[in-house]
Structure formats: C-alpha cells, structure tokens
Symmetry: C2
Amino acid sequence: MSLLVTGSIGIDTVKTPYGISENCLGGSAVYFSMAASFFSPVRLLGVIGSDCPFNLAEVFAGRDIDLTGLEVRQHSRTFRWKGTYGDNMDDRRTDCLELNVLAEAPPTVPAEYKDSKFVFLANTTPALQNQLLEQIASPAFVAADTMNCWIEGQLGDLKLLLKKIDCLIINEEEARLLADEFNLIEAGEKVLNMGPSVVIIKKGESGSIMCSAGGERFILPAYPATEVKDPTGAGDGFAGGVMGYLAQCDKTGFESLKTAIGYGTVIASFTIADFSLQGLAAAKKNDIESRFETLKKLTSF
Amino acid sequence: MSLLVTGSIGIDTVKTPYGISENCLGGSAVYFSMAASFFSPVRLLGVIGSDCPFNLAEVFAGRDIDLTGLEVRQHSRTFRWKGTYGDNMDDRRTDCLELNVLAEAPPTVPAEYKDSKFVFLANTTPALQNQLLEQIASPAFVAADTMNCWIEGQLGDLKLLLKKIDCLIINEEEARLLADEFNLIEAGEKVLNMGPSVVIIKKGESGSIMCSAGGERFILPAYPATEVKDPTGAGDGFAGGVMGYLAQCDKTGFESLKTAIGYGTVIASFTIADFSLQGLAAAKKNDIESRFETLKKLTSF
C-alpha cells in the first residue's frame, strides 16, 4: 500500500563518545524512508537547497523510494544540524541549527502522491503538517511526530492536527509536556483524548509504550544493542519501521501495530549501530527478521 | 522449599511528591519477606535495637514468616533512614542515615535456619554477606544485592562473594560501576565473568534485564503502574517476588527465572502504590495473579 513521508532532509554534524561525523546526510524523512523501504515502497516529499552535496537517488539506489516529491530549491540552503551526545548517548545537545529551506514554504504534494493511503508527517511546524495533510485525498492511516517547541509554542495548530491524525509517535518528554502529566500511561491516555486513536511513546534505551483509544496497551523494551555509535535517526528509523510494516500488510489493528512496533524497534537498533545512515544501509532484510525473532524470544515468558 | 533472607530492618522517614511518611517500618529484609511470603514460607534473619517501635509478629500476622532469627539487641538502636524522592520518583536523596545496630556484629544464623536452600543476602557489607553465607550448610541457590559504596570501597570482599553466589540482583548504576561498562548488556556479561551464573539488572521504571552464563537473556518492562506514591522497597519487593517464586517451585532454570522476574515485577508495582508496607499489605494473591497475566499480555507480540 502507498506510503508517503514528509519531513526534513539535512546536513548533520554529529559528535558522540565514539567519534564525529561531519556534514553527513541526515533528516527525519531520510532516516524514515530508508527504514520503511525494507517493508514497503516509499514516496518521499521534502525540499533541499542547491547547496546539498548528496545525490539521494544514489543514496537510495536499489530501494523502492520515489523521489518525485524531492524539490531542489535554487537560491536556498539545506537544513543543517550540529549536535553532541553525552556519555549515556541519551542526552543530546544541539550545538547549531540552521532551518534554512525548512523555514520557507513547504514542498507541494505532487499529483502522483495525492492518493497515498499511509502518511507519516515527520516533525515540523504543526501548521505545515496540517497544510500537507490537506493535500492528500483520502488517507487511510496518518501518523505524526512533533516536538517540545511546537507543544510549547503552537499548541493550537497541534491540537487541530491531533484531531485529524490516527497515530501520534512522540518521545517521553514530549508526551509528558503535551499531557501535562508525568506518569507515561496516564499521559498516553490524555493524549488519546486529544484525538488520535493510537499513541506510541518512544523511551529511547528503555523501549516504547503504545496505548489505543480502545483501551489496549503494549509495552516493548528496546532491542539490547551492544553496538551503539550514533543515536541520531533512531526515532525516525523506528517510525519508518512501524509505518513501513503497516503499509506492507495494509492493516492497522492493534495486533498489527504490535508487530509493527517490534519491527520499528529492530530498525532503530540498526540505525544506532553506526554514524548517519551507515547502520541502516548495512542491514539486510534477513538481519532484520533475525533480530525480530530474537526480540520476540527475549521478551516472552 | 526453605527461603532465608538476611538484611536490614529499619525505621524510615520518606518524603515523596505525594506526601511524607514519618518513622514507618522499612528495611530490605522487611520488604523482601512480605513480598516473598506470597509464594513461599520465609525465614527472616535480622537485628533491631530495643528502641524499635514495631512488633514484626503483628506486622506479618497471617503470613508464613519465621521470626526465630529476629534478634532484639538491648542497648542498641535500630537502623534509621530518611530520604526524599524527586518529581520523577527515580532520583533519591538520602537526608539522614544512622547505621546503628547494622554497624555492629551481624546476627547469628539460628540452628533451625542452617538447612535453608534458597538464600537472599540483601544489601550490606560484602564481608558480612560472606560471613552469613558461611553459616548455611548447603544452599541450593544464593542471590545477593550490593550497592555503590561496597563496589567502590570493598571490592575485594565483594569479588570473593561473587564467586560463591548464583545470582546477583543489582540496579543499573551498580551494574555499570561494578563492570566499568556503560552498556548494560555488556555490563551484565562482565559481571557473569566474576562468578554468578545469573545477573538480574533492575532499571526501575524501565523494567529489568537478566543474563545467564549459558548465554540466555531476558528483558521485561516494568508493570505500567499508574498508582505510584513511594518507590521505597521496590527493589527488595522485586527480589522477594523473584526468590519467593523460585523457592515455591524449587526450580532455578532460565524459564523459571523468567516467570520469577514477572512475579517480581508485579510485586514491585504493588510495593510502590503506597507508603511503607501499605501497598504490599493491601495486595491479595489473586491481584498478583491478575497483574501477572496482564503483564504477559501487555508484552507479548
């Protein structure tokens, strides 16, 4: 089933206790696309400046990722992010952020993308997420991400968005902030009352929690990765695994969502194994299946 | 099967964002005993001063907890602890610690306890843990807890102890410190190399991890508790559930250990629901079974 993602494409400089990766390819839509492409064809919608040194067609060669919606905007500069991770690989400091082209008008949804059934609105301003979603004719399942600054600064637009989407995928600090509730289970329930029928809360090294409006819950630990070099993109890789699997099987019931979170968790473990996209790029479909089976075994009792 | 616990019996004053509980009953052996008694008879070994205002026979009335090994030492004062929990209920500050009777000679193992098969050495100096263990004739399965100050200050004695026990149950900071390794899976493997055949790492709100010398691993999230008033005793309640279940079924294979961790996790969720022992005291056997089944369902996919 068709899967559209819209989000950032960026030039990252990332420092972790394991090294530094300068001016490498990053961005939510990039990590998501590569992750989801293990399961389903992906339609990428995003915009870069004329300064972007990466050829995405080459980066994604051999993967079913449609770049019709990739806009190269002349006289604009690509989104850039510099960040440093602390020793625990969980604390992240942004050293430098240049929104550049992300602060301009959003990309236009190409005619070929308008019939997309599965849609992921990666983190950007809620106003923009609303505008982009309006251009999709009749989506079957829409998931979105958001972040602290929009919860604090653009809550009205975010609340509008929450009424239109099926699933919110956020991290634990964001869930606590949005719900004004420390306990994550209670926070999840409060967010469900704002509109979505499913809320997935990412807890980094501690896994994830899912709550549904039907009263169902699921908790899964992170995959016990021993290779961890760069956590950048773990959340977007996770979301890509979740949405890619759902689009592949064209199901969104709670049992399918549980399996999808299992795959998202495994994809995240590959994402963090190396800098930039190297971890994900090195993963093979049978590696993913093998870790999925291991994760099932590790958590069953 | 017989289960012996030796650890502290204390007078606690605990402050959390939900209130304050002054001069209430606490201590590792107390939480452990009540937790384990849901599954198995318990033999408690511990010492209090003549100032102790609590009648443990009354506190444990109706539970199969043998107090033959409870020594009331005249002219000594009972162990006291005052602590404050932060908003996240994970950060704990010790405001005041009086070792009192815990700094004196350890209790003597009564003749009736010497044939104990399952033994839990709750947190105290490793030298004392070694001395206590030597008094048990032929234990079948010995588990122990320890803490940062002994890892830093009495590593020699601790390493001796690790060669004599079957299972170490510690929290994540302690595991990292003992193994000198941040990644918890790697830390678990390193601790296994120090002697025990099983290591269980407690991660508080994020659940627990178990590694065995046979290369088996198990990961379980915490029970998604929405009632959390006082985390004191959660770790000892967890250990009590684990050891109580193992003693009940007289098995220590990896599958039994997984089930035991499930019960320990559930017991911890009752422990934190209220101040001091009130949460555990209010739990009924069928509440425990019901949460155990819920936890299984919540984590299976």
